[in-house]
């Protein structure tokens, strides 16, 4: 401490004093001082811009903080292991699982945040605050280097004879152009051909309608007025195999149904059936409002009117839900008169 400066005072933020270093930087001890004296300055291309003094008392405090944080981290890591060993995770008890998860989170958080904060405090409090200035070299090279590089590229191209040998160039273009085709052709087997998969559902004429959840056939009287149920054709209730097949069977009040022209016979005993798959993006129509007869898709809020051929009354869907013609058989069970008359689900290019 040869300087005559008063003891440095720590102040927050930009007010911290910028001065000369109070003591010479600790020289790098070397096995051979003479040799090291001749080595170039390790900071040759950067310059010290400013440096703050470090208060030895503050430094001592910083040291303790860093050590405490590392200790906290170690306790966290060991704590995590202890929790792991001494608890049995069992989904049967959600409250227990939540407690375990809380404890593990706290332990892991302490382990990681402790180490993280320790490193930062170490750098902030125990290392000298030195600012360096470094020159930016221009991003582009010198004109000589640029010319030289261009010459190398062009000379190489000349020796390849790209300009002089059009036959080679064109045949190379052909070969490289078709080289990608095998990859594309091979990818063809990722999926089957379209066929009619998107146009058909599992419904065929005469299929009995069964409750999608219970598999029970639906009879007249199963639904109360204003009630609805999701149905599948009997024998094809796997929704993963028949994702476009789910259908809503709705019981309207007498006289409420206003069938579209040509569909007068598609309802049976005030029951109507519409595809459950939204014509917009394919979500199932999840909500039916008994009073307004609105059928709403919860994904994008397309709304269809059950009493008027499930026409769109709001939202991004452009087409009505396809209607399934239904009938009652002699035993009082609902059956499909025929398959759907148009493709169910969202639009696609080939739909027409």
């Amino acid at each position: 401490m040869t300087d005559e400066q008063p003891p440095p005072v720590r102040r927050p933020g930009p007010l911290r004093r910028i001065g000369r270093r109070a003591e010479p930087a600790a020289p790098m001890p070397a096995p051979n001082r003479a040799a090291e004296a001749q080595t170039p300055d390790p900071l040759a291309h950067v310059t010290v811009y400013s440096r703050t003094d470090d208060d030895p008392i503050e430094a001592k405090r910083g040291e303790r903080i860093v050590a405490a944080l590392f200790l906290l981290s170690a306790i966290g890591s060991l704590g995590f292991c202890a929790i792991w060993f001494f608890t049995s995770v069992s989904g049967a008890n959600l409250a227990h699982l939540r407690r375990v998860n809380f404890l593990m989170g706290a332990a892991l958080g302490a382990a990681l945040c402790g180490t993280g904060a320790a490193f930062i405090v170490w750098a902030k409090r125990l290392m000298p605050h030195v600012k360096y200035v470094q020159e930016r070299e221009p991003m582009h090279s010198t004109p000589e280097d640029e010319l030289a590089a261009e010459k190398v590229v062009l000379d190489g191209a000349t020796s390849m004879g790209i300009a002089r040998r059009p036959l080679v160039l064109r045949s190379a273009g052909l070969a490289l152009g078709v080289l990608g085709l095998p990859a594309i052709v091979a990818l063809r087997d990722m999926g089957p051909a379209l066929k009619d998969t998107l146009r058909t559902t599992a419904w065929t004429a005469g299929d009995r309608m069964v409750d999608i959840n219970t598999g029970r056939p639906i009879m007249l009287g199963d639904l109360e007025m204003g009630g609805y149920v999701t149905v599948m054709p009997e024998g094809s209730t796997d929704t993963n195999a028949n994702a476009l097949t789910p259908t809503l069977l709705i019981r309207l009040r007498p006289g409420e149904n206003r069938p579209l022209p040509g569909r007068e016979s598609w309802a049976a005993a005030d029951h109507v059936a519409y595809s459950k798959i939204c014509t917009h993006a394919g979500c199932p129509i999840g909500l039916y409002e008994e009073q307004t007869h609105h059928m709403l898709c919860p994904c994008h809020q397309s709304t269809f009117l059950a009493t008027e051929g499930a026409k769109v009354i709001f939202g991004p869907a452009a087409r009505s839900l396809p209607q399934l013609p239904i009938m009652l058989d002699a035993a009082g069970y609902f059956r499909a008169q025929s398959p759907f008359h148009e493709p169910c689900g969202p639009s696609f290019w080939e739909r027409g």
Partner: protein, 542 residues
């Protein structure tokens, strides 16, 4: 006298140098100067959350089974026992309930994914609003936009893997969006899913994309992003002694390295705390996916929300042309609009150059206020994006505030046009206003709030000169060359002299206040205090 540790270090360095000639490289790069500013750490958050994702994701992959094979669940979560579900869903339940650290790692993974995408977004905004994408950094901007796109895809793929009811609905919508592409869409959907929705092939394919293809691309692009950043050196804000041709800050070794690795642990630690204390994506509450079932209020992860919103706000237009269907109500919001948005985003450096004809190198950042048009355009884009995001929750909004759903949707349809334009205008006015106040501050000094009556009888408000260390930042903007600086103490334009205010009598309004002091304290925790050699020897405010 050399310590054993020093000898060992020297020996190691020698061994490496003998084989790689690394001494010069090491010296140059360890002494590389990196500027200090809190906003330069936003990209680091993204980088570190990616590291967390790799670590936690590897753990999860030890237990997850990417299969659509249907099984009957018999794990320890009672409410779902005996239910038929895909192996993917069953194994996610297994991770959550029967692997001891499974739930917390799953939740850390999900939280880190949200942090990853969020950090990229905020980092991108920082880069945009400060003009850091200008020459020579255009390519790195483009890589960044690619990273954002991949991050969103990767997130979507990740949360879709458990095959629960919520994410399955998202996949259903994605299938419909694929189907809507003219000419090739249906084939594309069939190839990606191996046939009609849902099929057995998609989950395994999605898994490979999620754990190999996309992360591989991300890793490669992140590496390129960092190497280019390293090579081109970081940009910096204007400040004392800072020029286009230098960098002022700390060297990589040891200060920056220590702080940044501390930051890595902190990001990991915060993710762990979130994973422990904040439940996320409780798939056991949603149930297994079933194409016939949906729950109301289905919301995707936030970064997909803008697509959900665009699908919801789009009017129902569908064309039938020459026997072919073009369902614009899905095609436009699902493919065309995001396509336009991301293309414009990627082209920003070139669009700006086309408009400004600026071909110069830029290493000093702009203050957003000084580029009013750029800032206003950025706010326009953000507001447009936010309206889409809000649109993705129009049902939640309508339910929460008891509004009409139709009314909410129509209001948002109008707002998506009006609000961005309005925000452009307002932002531009605010920027210009701030430029004026900067010019005022620079040329007339800081208002003292004291009215002085001169012996002549005139009233003036004396000003306090701007501290020297604050001048460079203001001078970097248009205020710096708008009018010649009026030397302190000389006649003001109004003809009156401007006496100085006693130092220390008034707190500098721009420096004081408990709030800004707190802000500085937080900032200074991570970075060097913003001071230059010209900082006045201020006794400090009490």
């Amino acid at each position: 006298m050399t310590s054993p540790a020093e000898t060992a270090t020297r020996k190691t360095l020698r061994v490496v140098d003998d084989r790689f000639g690394s001494a010069n490289f090491l010296r140059r790069n360890l002494n590389k100067v990196f500027p200090d500013h809190w906003s330069f750490m936003l990209g680091e958050i993204a980088l570190y959350s990616f590291v967390i994702l790799l670590l936690t994701g590897t753990y999860l992959s030890l237990f997850f089974r990417a299969s659509s094979q249907e099984v009957f669940y018999n794990g320890s979560y009672a409410p779902l026992r005996g239910l038929k579900m895909s192996e993917a869903y069953a194994s996610t339940l297994h991770i959550s309930f029967d692997v001891r650290a499974g739930l917390i790692i799953r939740q850390i993974h999900h939280w880190a994914a949200l942090i990853f995408v969020s950090a990229i977004f905020v980092h991108l905004m920082r880069v945009y609003f400060t003009g850091a994408y200008r020459k020579p950094r255009e390519i790195n901007w483009l890589i960044g936009v690619g990273l954002l796109t991949l991050a969103i895809l990767e997130g979507f793929a990740g949360y879709s893997l458990p095959d629960d009811l919520l994410s399955g609905t998202g996949i259903r919508i994605a299938y419909s969006v694929l189907e809507s592409i003219p000419l090739v869409g249906t084939w594309l959907a069939f190839f990606v899913f191996g046939g009609a929705f849902p099929g057995q092939d998609f989950i395994p394919r999605l898994y490979i994309a999620h754990i190999l293809l996309v992360p591989g691309l991300l890793l490669a692009l992140i590496t390129a992003h960092m190497m280019i950043l390293w090579h081109q050196k970081h940009t910096d804000f204007a400040g004392p002694d800072k020029t286009e041709h230098n960098v002022i800050g700390s060297t990589i070794w040891p200060g920056f390295a220590w702080k940044t690795q501390g930051f890595l642990f902190l990001v990991f630690g915060v993710s762990a705390l979130l994973g422990g204390f904040a439940q996320i994506n409780p798939i056991w509450l949603y149930g297994p996916y079933n194409p016939a079932v949906v729950s109301a209020g289905s919301q995707p992860d936030w970064y997909i929300g803008f697509l959900e919103g665009s699908l919801r706000l789009m009017p129902n237009i569908e064309w039938n042309l020459f026997g072919h269907t073009i369902d614009l109500n899905v095609l436009f919001p699902g493919i065309i609009l995001p396509g336009i948005m991301f293309t414009l985003l990627g082209l920003i450096p070139w669009l700006e150059r086309w408009k400004t004809k600026d071909h110069a190198y830029h290493n000093v950042l702009d203050r957003p206020r000084n580029k009013a048009n750029r800032t206003a355009a950025g706010v326009l884009a953000i507001v447009f994006y936010l309206v889409l995001l809000v649109g993705g929750g129009n049902d939640v909004l309508a339910k929460t505030f008891d509004w009409s759903l139709q009314g909410t949707t129509w209001a948002l349809r109008v707002l998506i046009i009006v609000l961005p334009l309005l925000s452009f205008y307002v932002t531009k006015r605010i920027c210009l206003g701030l430029q004026h106040s900067d010019a005022d501050l620079l040329h007339h000094g800081i208002e003292s709030g004291i009215i002085v009556r001169l012996p002549s009888g005139a009233f003036i408000e004396p000003t306090k000169p701007l501290p020297a260390h604050r001048r460079p930042l203001l001078e970097s903007g248009p205020a710096g060359h708008a009018e010649p600086a009026i030397p302190y103490g000389h006649a003001a334009p109004n003809g009156h002299a401007q006496p100085a205010v006693g130092t220390g009598a008034q707190a500098d309004p721009a420096d004081g206040g408990a709030l800004s002091a707190a802000g500085r304290a937080i900032k200074d925790f991570f970075t060097e205090p913003a001071s230059g050699p010209e900082s006045p020897e201020d006794p400090g405010q009490p």
